[in-house]
Structure formats: C-alpha cells, structure tokens
C-alpha cells in the first residue's frame, strides 16, 4: 500500500490500478485519481519549482487554482506544458514531467537565485542592466546581452514544436438557462429550471458534478451530500431538455450573454475514439445564466508559507475525502476562520493525527472548541504560525502568541512537530465571470471578501458565489435562481434538508503574520509581502501598479490565491481600507485555455479552398497552382525541365502567335437587375452605362467616395434591365458590399437587385490571332464573325451542346473572347475548346503569362490600383464622365489628388538586359552604398516575349513627363542596380489594332 493512501474511503475505484510516470519514475494510482492525488498517495512532496527563486514547492490546492504543481504532459513528441497536476486525471500510460528545473526537480541549479535575495526584489531589472553610456556596449547591446540569460532562466514549461495531431472542435449551443457550477447551488438551479421545462445546460470544470458536495461530508436529505448530488444528477440526466457538460470550464462571459466554455473531452483518456475531439469549444448563447461557481479558500501569509507540506485546508480535506489520501500523518492547521475546524474533523476521521489548530482569533466559539476536541487537536487560540521548518518537505512549525486586533506577536515561540500544515485565510467568492464585463466587485467587510458586482448582463448568482457560504443557503439560492431564470414562480415545496458542520462564515480580518523570513503572497511568481511593501515605498500603490510592478497575480493562477492577501497588505501599508485600494480587473479566460481549442475546427484548416469548375483539369494537366486570396489559379502549365520564366514566355508567345486559353472563372461576377439597373451603374461607374446597347459590354472604372480608384472590369448588358458586372478577383467581395450598401442605405429608392453569380459561371478567355478560327470550329447556334460578334459584342450559342455566352473582349491585347457557361459544364466547354484548338496550336496559359501580356499592354491591376492611386495617375482620366456625377466625382479633384508630383503609371525597359524585381525602386542617381531619393517603384515586371526585353510597369513621380528619359533601378534588398528607360505603359500594340482585328 502506498504510504499515504487511507485504507478505505474516497471516491476512487480501488479495484482499478493505473500506471503512469512522473519525471521518468513509475507510479500507480487508481481510477478517479488526479496526478496530484496519486503522487501525494505515493509520498511525493516536491511537485515543482517557483518562477524566480526556484524554490521547492509542493501542492497548495486540489483544484484549478493550483499555482505550484505545474507539470508538462507528454503524448509522444507532443508536449502540453504548465498543466496543474491537480487537474490531470490519470490514465494508463500517462507521462508527466516537472518543469523549470535543471538538472532535476530535487537538485535545481536555479535555486541559486535565492542567494540574490534582496537584490532581486520587485522591479530590480528596471534599475540595472543598462550598461555603459558610451563605448561599444552603449545603446541596447549590454541589456540584450544580459537579457539573453534572463530569458533562459525565465519561463515555466517548454512548448513543443511537433504538430499536435489532436482534433479540436467548436460547438454552438443555445439554451434558456446556463448553470455554471454544479455544487449544491448549481445542481438545485439546474433541477429547478429543468423542471420548468427550460432548455438547460449545466457545466462544471470538474470531472464529477457535485462541487463541494463531492467531498464535504455533509448530509443532504438524509444521505451523504455526494450521494444526494449523484441522485440529482441522475434526475437531470433523464431530461431531454438538459445537457450536462462535465470537465467543462466556462471561461469567458462575453457580450449578449454569449459564454465561452472548454470541454476536455478526451484528455483523461488513453486514446480517443475515432473522430472524437480532444477538446470542444462551446460557444453558448444563454437566455439567463446562473452563476454558482462557489468560492476559493485563501492562503495566509507568514514566513515559510511556501514550504512543501503547507496546503490549503479544504484541499487537504478534499484529498482525504475524495481521493482517500492524507497530505500527512501529523497535521497542524492554521486559520482565521471556522471552516478549518471542519477540515480538521474530516482529516481526523480519515485517519490522520491532527496535532494542533492554530487560530489567530483569541476567542473561539464553543462549537469550534468542540470540533477541535472531536479532532483531538490542541487548540492554540490567539496564536499564529511564525515559521516553518524542513527542506523539500515540512518537518515542523513555530507558533507564537498573536493579537488579532493589532497583529502583534508576543511571547516565546513554540515548535510543533508536523509533516503537514493546513491553512485557511478565509474564502473569496469565485466572481470572475460576473466581473469580466468590467463591473466593480463590492467589498464585504464582514465576509472580508469581494462579492459579485451588480449584473451587467442577464445572470443570477447563487451559493458561495454570492457570499452565502452554507450549503443550506446554497440550496435555497440555487433553487430560487433556477426558477427565476426559467421564468417560474417561487416554489413552496420543501427544500432538501442539510445537516452540516456549524460555523461562522466571517473570518477575522487577518491576512499576514509579520515575522522574520520570506512570506509569499504570489507563490508562483515569488512575490513576497516585502515586495508589496517595496512597491508601496516606490509609489506603486494603485492596485494595478502593484500588480504590474511586482507581477502579483500575473502568474498562471491569475491571482486566485494571491489577490486579496496582496491587496490587504498594500491597504495596510497605505493605511486605507481594502475597497479603496480596489481589485484588479478580471479578464477572460477564467482559467487558461488551449490555443488549439480556440482555433477549434480551423486548426489545420485555416481557410477553405475556393476552386474553379476546371480546377481538377488544371491539376491533371500539369498546372502549378497559385493561391489568390482563397482561390487557386494556374500559375503556369510547365513542361518538364522548364523554369517558370521559360514556361510563361512560351505560353505568352504562343498566345500572341496562335492562341491561348486561360481560366477566368475567378473574376467577380455580379448580376445587376431591375428597372433602375442602368441608372445605378451610371452612379457607380465613372463612365456611362445607360447608353450601352443590349448585347454589348463596356469597360468600367469605379472610384471610392474619396476619389481614389477602387476597381475596374467589364459589364455586359444582357437585357434592358439585366447586367452582368465583372470585377477583379481580389475585390469581388468588396465591390459587392459597396453596391449593396449604396442600394440599401443611400439610394433605397432604386429598384435594383445585385446578386453574386461568380459561382454560376465558368469563364474561359481565349485569345490570339487564331482564337476566332477556333471558336468558329466549335461554336454552334451563332455566328462569331466580325459583324455578329464585334469588339465588345456578346452572342449566345453552344459549345459541345452546352449553352454558352461569348463576349469579345481582351485583356491580353489580342483578338480575344470570354466564353461563359454554367459552372457545371465548365470543364466540358473548356475541354471542347482545347480540343478545337489543337489544330491551331492553342496553349493553356496561367497567371504569369496573363500578367506578362497585360504588362505589355499596360493594363492595370491591383498592383497599380492599390488604394493610393487616382484615375489620372493611371491615365484612366478618359473614363471620367463629365456628364454626370458618380461615386467619387466630387472628391477626386482635391489638391492632393491632382498635384503634379504624384506617382504616375509608366513603363520601364531594362537597359542592361537583366530582369527586374517587383518592388524595386527607381532613382535618378545611382548610389549603391547609400541608396536615397527614390522617385517611384516597380509594380509588375516580366520578360516580354513580344519586345524581347525585360520590362516593367512602375509608378514614378511625375512619370508622364519622364517618358523617354533614363533613370536607374535601385533594389538594394536584392542588390540589383542598373540603367532603365522610362516609357509609356503601352508597350505593345498601343493603338489596339490586334484586338480590334
């Protein structure tokens, strides 16, 4: 039998033995154990090392608030650092290791930091490491040198880099009543609400429902509280309208009664079932929330309070009653309130020797005296613990007489031999969720605790959360809250009857025992009472300054143990009451949540892929794909051994020589329909559309309201009231939203519907001298000659039996056609065109060749319409109608938008016959060592097969005036400098004779 496991008792399954390792050593425990309880049962006292001084630390708590016993759980290569051992349910094969120690937990070199002692006081790093003011170590050098070592010494666990193979999932839930916490209050609330027929969700972060009933040893309705809880859970389980979520931490209370919760679905399992997520992220939209989150017991602050073996009283009680483990054989308690007496009795019952109860209060009630004697403990009323003894485990403590009214110690100290010291410094309601919205908690001087703020959202509190610390009150408040939340009326049915240990809920206002030695307030961060007083001396007296200066409350427990004692010490130093010092702001999450769980279903799948109808064809035919926003588009269709440049040059050349075809399905397409469609387009585009004939298309330009260029594309008039607008791929969504905005908000009188039809149509652009011949050979039902299908004309016909719509327009500068068909027929039409093109030398081309041909033509895209350019900058002023106002027309002539030194679109030719790079700059004078005075930059560049030169488009200051002049490309990032000629952006076929045919 393990040294500390009791013979009987506990809610563990003693018949099931579970094997696990900690720091490589094998241990066993039982089903129902946490890593903490199992190790404790095995006699382990040392669980971790503190952050700054690397002091040895044992278990402080039994739940989520544990600050010391942080471990890393390993699943193969995958590491999960900083997990409280108290929250790890053991499973066969569990591997856990300790952290922040080298070489081992027992012998940690970092403990040398303790020698630094007072030098390493709060905020010391602000005062030093600045290094010399002159010389080679001035500036940031010296600090960065020191920082290197500081960073390595800091940090808790080590994160892994192996990808996490787990699955995470999101779940959206709706309910009438969400009950957070399943103690007596929460259970009653859930039951009452469910009985009213409300949709109820009950969540508790623990593996078992029941909260404190799980281990309190009280009796409810004549049975042990735990059995009562189980029975109540059983009644809830049967209900269709109730969802029970164990192992689920509600961690965030957001606006609109939206709560975020994390369910640990398989963390306690050796292997998850197929498809089962490790964790599930619940986004819960609740009608009303019942907050029944209970309370935390507080430590007391005294020298040596961090020694392994010093533990919270209720935690010890939990270990004994819930897990059948005793934290020690000889136990002493130290308290400022009555609740520890119940713990003493429970531990006694579980088989420990309770050697003493040290109570700071001089007068202890008779009831408590009775409990002390029931525990066979010596009662030291009006005493305080002033020191603890031992190394990596407690061996004893020292007590002295104590006056609770003024904190004075007197008399000789007395040693007590004990291997476990349990402390209780009073209780703080778990008000985190209620406070997250920023409402101020209210200090209750009787309870010596912050009580929940007035609700800022629809929630109702119940139980210890409200400061009602007895089970009977919890039950009554729970039922009332559940009824109210479900819209029911008060019930006259009798409440369950509670038999509980008596006790006064109000502690003595004693937080710290000032004696010689380090007294810890924030255990993990090693913030001592002296640090708090130093902060006071240096003026960091506001509670938020205290926190930031000392890092009190910034550790993984987020002040759950330390906040109130820290405040109390500061309040005393200031001579002010605690509420005037205030409390720090509560923030989500309530307890730390894995980042994977928050990514949820997007873990490993950040964004969907958007595919054109011909996508699979492209892949099957050797295309290299390029991601453009969410879309995938062919970049090149490379042949074996070709470079990208060789491929696009071949594709572009073949297109200009015979014909090429490219997938343009990604272009944004918007159906603009209705009696006012033409009028609407006149207002939206800078040029006229009402004059466009049915069966024709026109190139259009849109500006933003501020007068800068927004987007361009062609719009086709398919019917009197029926237009098909195309936009650039990148701006499709933005343009759509803009149109909808104007129709809904600005011009609701216009009868127009706009509908995204991007996905309705597959588009193939086929261009080149042979393009018409190819169409001629495969299109039926319409002629495609110049008369029937002139430039910007539209015809309807069929290809391979599929209805198609063909518009003659050109981006490449060649005689070209866009062939649209229903997306479901896209590949069929595409293949038919390719088949028809074979005799003509048709090539497929990708975005690179498309880009090349558009650069040769001097067409603009998103690289030039970049949100900073005007129509004039891009030489599109010819499109600005003077006959009508349009979006942006009123703003486009402001001084800054017409000033001559703006960047304007030009063409560049490389004079040294070397390639350009996108993003290179242009200068008038070359200075490779100290580049300066940029006059512009390259927006797009390529090798031009048509010109047999390296060319580029660029935006250059006063560019138009520079046509024909020379300058230099200056690209220090890629060390590319050289002479260029500035020319017009229309490199190729400037009069458009090729595309007009």
């Amino acid at each position: 039998m393990s040294p500390r496991r009791t013979e009987t008792g506990g809610r563990i399954d003693r018949l099931r033995t579970i094997r696990f390792t900690f720091d490589g050593a094998p241990y066993t425990g039982h089903a129902g154990d946490t890593l903490a309880s199992a190790l404790l049962a095995n006699g382990v006292t040392l669980f971790g090392r503190s952050f700054k001084y690397h002091r040895p630390r044992g278990l402080l708590a039994a739940g989520v608030e544990e600050p010391n016993a942080l471990v890393t759980v390993l699943r193969g290569e995958v590491r999960e650092p900083n997990i409280a051992a108290t929250m790890v349910e053991i499973y066969d094969g569990l591997v856990a290791v300790s952290q922040n120690r080298a070489p081992s937990l027992a012998w940690d070199i970092g403990a040398l930091n303790q020698l630094g002692g007072k030098v390493l006081s709060a905020g010391f790093y602000y005062k030093t490491f600045m290094g010399p003011v002159i010389g080679p170590l001035k500036g940031t050098r010296f600090w960065m040198f020191c920082e290197h070592f500081i960073r390595r010494a800091a940090g808790l666990g080590k994160a892994g880099t192996a990808p996490d193979p787990a699955r995470y999932e999101r779940m959206n839930a709706f309910c009438d009543v969400l009950v957070v916490g399943s103690g007596p209050a929460g259970l009653m609330a859930a039951k009452a609400a469910a009985d009213q027929g409300a949709r109820v969700i009950l969540a508790d972060l623990e593996a078992h429902f029941g909260g404190s009933a799980h281990w309190s040893g009280e009796t409810i309705d004549g049975v042990p509280a735990a059995d009562w809880a189980q029975r109540t859970v059983g009644q809830l389980e049967g209900n269709d309208n109730v969802r029970l979520l164990p192992r689920t931490t509600v961690w965030g209370y957001y606006d609109g009664n939206t709560l975020a919760a994390l369910e640990r679905v398989t963390d306690h399992k050796e292997t998850p079932a197929k498809g089962e997520p490790r964790q599930r992220y619940w986004a819960i939209r609740a009608g009303t929330v019942v907050l029944a989150t209970g309370s935390f017991e507080r430590p007391l602050i005294f020298p040596g309070n961090d020694r392994p073996g010093v533990m919270l009283a209720h935690a010890a009680e939990r270990y004994a009653v819930e897990y059948g483990v005793l934290p020690g054989q000889r136990i002493a308690l130290f308290t400022n309130n009555d609740s520890a007496y119940r713990s003493a009795v429970a531990l006694k019952k579980a088989g420990a020797a309770v050697v003493a109860i040290v109570d700071v209060r001089g007068d202890v009630s008779n009831e408590m005296r009775r409990l002390a004697s029931e525990a066979e403990a010596e009662l030291l009323a009006g005493h305080a613990v002033v020191a603890t003894e031992g190394g990596r485990a407690l061996t004893g403590l020292k007590v002295q007489r104590f006056d609770a009214t003024n904190g004075a110690l007197s008399g000789d100290d007395r040693s007590i031999h004990a291997d476990s010291l349990l402390m209780s410094g009073g209780w703080s309601p778990t008000i985190h969720l209620a406070s997250q919205a920023g409402a101020r908690a209210e200090w209750d001087p009787a309870r010596q605790a912050f009580l929940p703020p007035r609700p800022t959202q629809r929630w109702i509190g119940a139980g210890a959360f409200t400061g009602s610390f007895s089970t009977a009150e919890a039950i009554a408040e729970g039922r009332a809250a559940g009824l109210q939340a479900a819209g029911g009326s008060a019930s006259s049915a009798p409440l369950p009857i509670v038999e509980a240990t008596p006790g006064d809920p109000d502690p003595a206002p004693v937080f710290e025992i000032k004696a010689k030695g380090k007294s810890f307030v924030d255990f993990q961060h090693d913030v001592t009472a002296e640090d708090v007083r130093l902060a006071h001396r240096e003026g960091f007296v506001s509670v938020e300054h205290l926190k930031r200066y000392t890092t009190l409350g910034m550790a993984t427990d987020q002040g759950k143990n330390s906040n109130v004692p820290g405040l109390a010490i500061m309040a005393e130093a200031l001579g002010k009451p605690i509420p005037e010092v205030g409390t720090t702001r509560f923030r989500p999450p309530y307890t730390a949540v894995s980042i994977g769980s928050l990514a949820a279903e997007r873990f490993g799948d950040l964004k969907p892929e958007r595919l054109t109808p011909m996508h699979d064809w492209h892949i099957a035919n050797g295309a290299t794909m390029y991601s453009a926003g969410l879309w995938y588009r062919p970049m090149i269709y490379g042949l074996a051994g070709e470079t990208v440049e060789q491929a696009y040059v071949r594709e572009a050349r073949a297109t200009r020589e015979s014909a090429g075809i490219v997938d343009v399905s990604t272009l944004g397409k918007i159906a603009v329909q209705g009696p006012d469609a033409a009028e609407f387009l006149d207002r939206v585009y800078t040029n006229m559309f009402s004059t466009l004939a049915v069966g024709k298309a026109r190139y259009g330009l849109m500006l933003r309201e501020d007068g800068l260029a927004f987007d361009d594309g062609t719009t086709w008039r398919l019917g009197e009231q029926d237009f098909l607008m195309t936009t650039t791929t990148a701006n499709a969504g933005k343009v759509m939203q803009n149109l909808e905005y104007f129709l809904d908000v600005i011009w609701p009188e216009l009868k127009v519907t706009v509908t995204s039809v991007t996905d309705e149509w597959a588009g193939a652009a086929i261009g080149g001298p042979k393009a018409r011949a190819i169409l001629f050979s495969c299109v039926t039902g319409t002629a495609v000659d110049n008369a029937t299908l002139p430039f910007m004309g539209i015809v309807h016909g069929r290809i391979a039996g599929v209805p198609v719509m063909i518009c003659r327009l050109s981006f490449s500068g060649e005689m070209a056609f866009e062939v649209y068909s229903g997306a479901g027929y896209g590949t069929r039409v595409w293949e038919a065109l390719i088949e028809a093109g074979k005799p003509f030398g048709l090539v497929t081309y990708g975005l690179e060749a498309l880009g090349t041909m558009r650069i040769e033509k001097g067409h603009v895209t998103g690289a030039e319409i970049d949100g900073r350019t005007t129509a004039r900058d891009l030489h599109l002023d010819w499109m600005l109608s003077k006959k009508k106002p349009f979006i942006g027309s009123a703003m486009m002539d402001r001084e800054g938008l017409i000033s001559p030194d703006r960047l304007q679109l030009v063409g560049l030719i490389s004079l040294d016959n070397r390639p350009f790079n996108g993003g290179a700059h242009i200068v008038e004078e070359l200075d490779e060592a100290n580049p300066h005075d940029s006059i512009g930059h390259i927006t797009a560049c390529c090798y031009s097969p048509a010109l047999s030169k390296y060319i580029a488009l660029a935006l250059v200051k006063d560019g138009k005036a520079r046509h024909g002049t020379r300058a230099f490309v200056s690209d220090p990032l890629r060390n590319r400098f050289g002479p260029i000629e500035i020319v017009s952006n229309h490199f190729y076929d400037p009069d458009g004779s090729r595309m007009h045919g």
């Binding site: 606006d255 986004a283 905005y741 809904d744 908000v745 600005i746 609701p748 009123a890």
Partner: protein, 92 residues
C-alpha cells in the same frame, strides 16, 4: 455580442460587417460643396455612449441595419432595416 436582425433574429456579431457612423448624411450626388463631402467621408461623431450606426448582416440576409448600440457597454438598444420598416427594440 448579438445583433437582432429584423429578418433573421438575434445573430452573433461574427455574421455582421460594421459600416460605421450612421449619422452621416451623403450630399446630393451633384453637390459641389466640398466641405459637406469632406464631412461625410472623413468626420465621425464617435460618441462614448449610444451610437447610431450601420451594420450589414453580411453573413446572413445581407440587409443593412440601423443599429443603436452603446459604445461603453456594447449593449444593442435597437435595430431596424436601413431601408426603413421593421424596428426591434432590445432594451428591456
């Protein structure tokens, strides 16, 4: 945060796109009053408190809504179609 779309009912903020200050008045299209245009495009009321604003239910019915929302508490006080018509009061 939840916004009650008059058509779709209460929906998570994730379904909406913010379109800003709803107090702005767009000048007549042909207006040459540059000050008015500047004010419309650039100036915002930006109050700390109740704010009249435009949201699009872009991840739902795509209607634009006029929403009165408190910028200190994020409480949504009322919603209505920007085109006019149905209005939903949320303040209890």
């Amino acid at each position: 945060m939840l916004i009650t779309c008059p058509y779709c009912g209460p929906r998570d903020v994730i379904e909406f796109t913010y379109q800003g200050d709803g107090n702005r008045e767009r000048p007549q299209p042909a207006s040459q009053n540059l000050d008015a245009w500047n004010a419309y495009v650039y100036d915002r009321l930006n109050p700390a408190g109740d704010h009249n604003e435009i949201w699009q239910h872009s991840g739902g019915c795509r209607a634009h809504l006029r929403v009165v929302r408190n910028t200190l508490t994020h409480e949504v006080l009322s919603t209505a179609f920007a085109r006019g018509g149905h209005k939903t009061e949320s303040r209890s």
